[in-house]
């Protein structure tokens, strides 16, 4: 089974994140980035499937120069090959454009039996790219999998909701987005780290994918971030000295905030 895993290179949540003042897009140049932690689950799931059977795992990312690090990390974990789509014109792309580029890249890879994605990116976190991508590829989409099994031509997932857990099946090829409950991603082993350097990584531009630059980027986006204001610093909390009525006053406070 050949699997393509879409991984996003995102700003490290541990470092100072900000917006580019000129166009209100995420500043991706001046921050440390990494493979989105939520996408590590997709990589891990792909590796487990291939290790239990056969086939290849290809990781695919769209992003600036440094996004090569996200591909490298997935290769160190054990993926077989990487594809990095990078083009200045892609900067500022919205979810429809992102899914367009991903779809064309997957076609150029030669398709896949299974496309895996994370449940959301840790920066944009719209959770819509998987659905859009499935639509563009004409694949069944089964999202938010917290368990995944493949049997022959069928993929079965469990989706945990508040009220019930659903079991959903789809025929392959299919697209599945996975949650952070599905597995525990491995750390790259030292052998993996050394082997990664020798694995093939393709670098594609928009031209390589036959996409016109007018279809992507900030100009083509359907929505626009008009303004950005930093969240005000947190207010000092209310301190309730317990004079024997602490419990009652706590309940009063929670009620006044409509928590209870």
């Amino acid at each position: 089974m050949n699997i393509v895993v879409c991984v996003k290179y995102v700003p490290d949540a541990q470092s100072e994140r900000g917006f580019d003042a000129s166009d209100n897009t995420t500043d991706r140049e001046n921050v440390d980035g990494l493979l989105s932690e939520l996408d590590e689950y997709a990589v891990e799931e792909a590796l487990k499937l291939v290790e239990a059977g056969e086939g290849e795992v290809t990781v695919l990312t769209i992003g600036p120069e440094q996004a090569a690090d996200a591909v490298k990390k997935a290769l160190q974990m054990g993926a077989d090959k990487g594809v990095h789509v990078s083009d200045a014109a892609i900067s500022g792309s919205d979810a429809p454009a992102t899914s367009l580029v991903l779809a064309e890249a997957i076609r150029k890879i030669g398709g896949a039996d299974l496309v895996l994605t994370g449940m959301a990116s840790t920066d944009g976190s719209m959770s819509v790219v998987p659905a859009m991508l499935a639509e563009r590829l004409g694949l069944p989409q089964v999202t938010f999998a917290s368990e995944l099994t493949v049997d022959g031509d069928t993929v079965t997932i469990r989706r945990d909701g508040d009220a019930a857990s659903e079991t959903i099946t789809a025929s392959l090829p299919a697209l599945v987005s996975v949650t952070d409950q599905i597995n525990e991603p491995r750390y790259p082993s030292f052998k993996g780290i050394m082997a990664a350097k020798k694995k093939p990584v393709e670098r594609w531009s928009l031209a390589d994918l036959g996409i016109d630059s007018s279809q992507v980027g900030l100009g083509a986006a359907w929505t626009k971030v008009e303004d950005v204001t930093k969240r005000p610093p947190r207010q000092q909390g209310t301190i309730v000295p317990d004079e024997g009525d602490g419990g009652a006053r706590l309940a009063e406070f929670l009620a006044s905030q409509k928590f209870i």
Partner: protein, 388 residues
Amino acid sequence: MTQHPLELFAVDGLIDSDAKDMRDTVRAVLADRVRPHIAQWYEDATIPARELTRELGALGLLGMHLEGYGCAGTSATAYGLACMELEAVDSGVRSLVSVQGSLAMFAIWRYGSEEQKQEWLPRMAAGEAIGCFGLTEADFGSNPGGMRTSAKRDGDDWVLSGSKMWITNGAVADVAIVWARTDEGIRGFVVPTDSPGFTANEITRKMSLRASVTAELVLDGVRLPASAMLPDARGLSGPLSCLSEARFGIVFGALGAARDCLEVTIDYCREREIFDKPLAAYQLTQAKLADMTLELGKGVLLALHLGHLKDTVGVRNEQISLGKLNSTREAIAIARECRTLLAANGITGEYPIMRHANNLESVLTYEGTSEVHQLVIGQALTGESAFR
């Protein structure tokens, strides 16, 4: 914007990307699995050696700089940097790895028969088997050549008798590399710890390296087949070359403990208000921090230089002695100076300072005491041996 002490020295530019990625991986794994528990393990004088060894084995950390037999085959520098991360958490954790990879596995890898390598190295690399290294005896530490443990021929077999003292991993090991006196000089033996006549008695009541297993090994007529002897190690140079491997890790490791102390202390000084301003804003504090940072950075530069030598032209024993002497001596000085800045808080288990300082007392002593390394360097400089 403040800078990390090692950022001031821009050391990252001296490290290749694989070694950096491995270092960062070790740091992440330890932050996840070991750091949250280490203070308690130390307090309780325990370490989940088996579990930890398996986890570190899965990463490829055990015997990482050896080639083949399931070992990762990394650079020596990458190994050193991993030791620095391990010891930044605790010297006991680093000791476990040093003994496994550089003493026990290295002895087999360098001096063992093909059969011994096949039997032990893959399992030890994976962390499924734990090794220990028995050289020191109660009466022979700095002078191991005086050892009394003996191996005598009986037909084709060997019979080992005697005892070894202060043996790291001793009570949890599956295999012990034991050095013994024979008619043909000192030889090494691969001793499965379930051999009849072999016992390990854990040494308790340690005030240092509490998160590390230390034991006395007793060999009461342990009978081994001829194939148990390490064929290629003859005389004291065998065990001494293993020690040199492990010392290389300590050159980096001890500085990890110092780095951890310094990081904690800088944060503490910036938070702690004394006479209405942060402790960090006093000149005396800054002088201490600057001096400690300088020693740490110089030590790391020396360590990386030795790593570069080892990865290229090779490193000589007396050069490793320079590093072992410098790193352990400066690390313990840094830990103690940090303790003064944390004052009362510094003596508690809430902060890692005293734990590191206590650990470093052992690190200063084992693998050749500071005095012994001064003598090694002195001999290289003067041509005079002052050992006896």
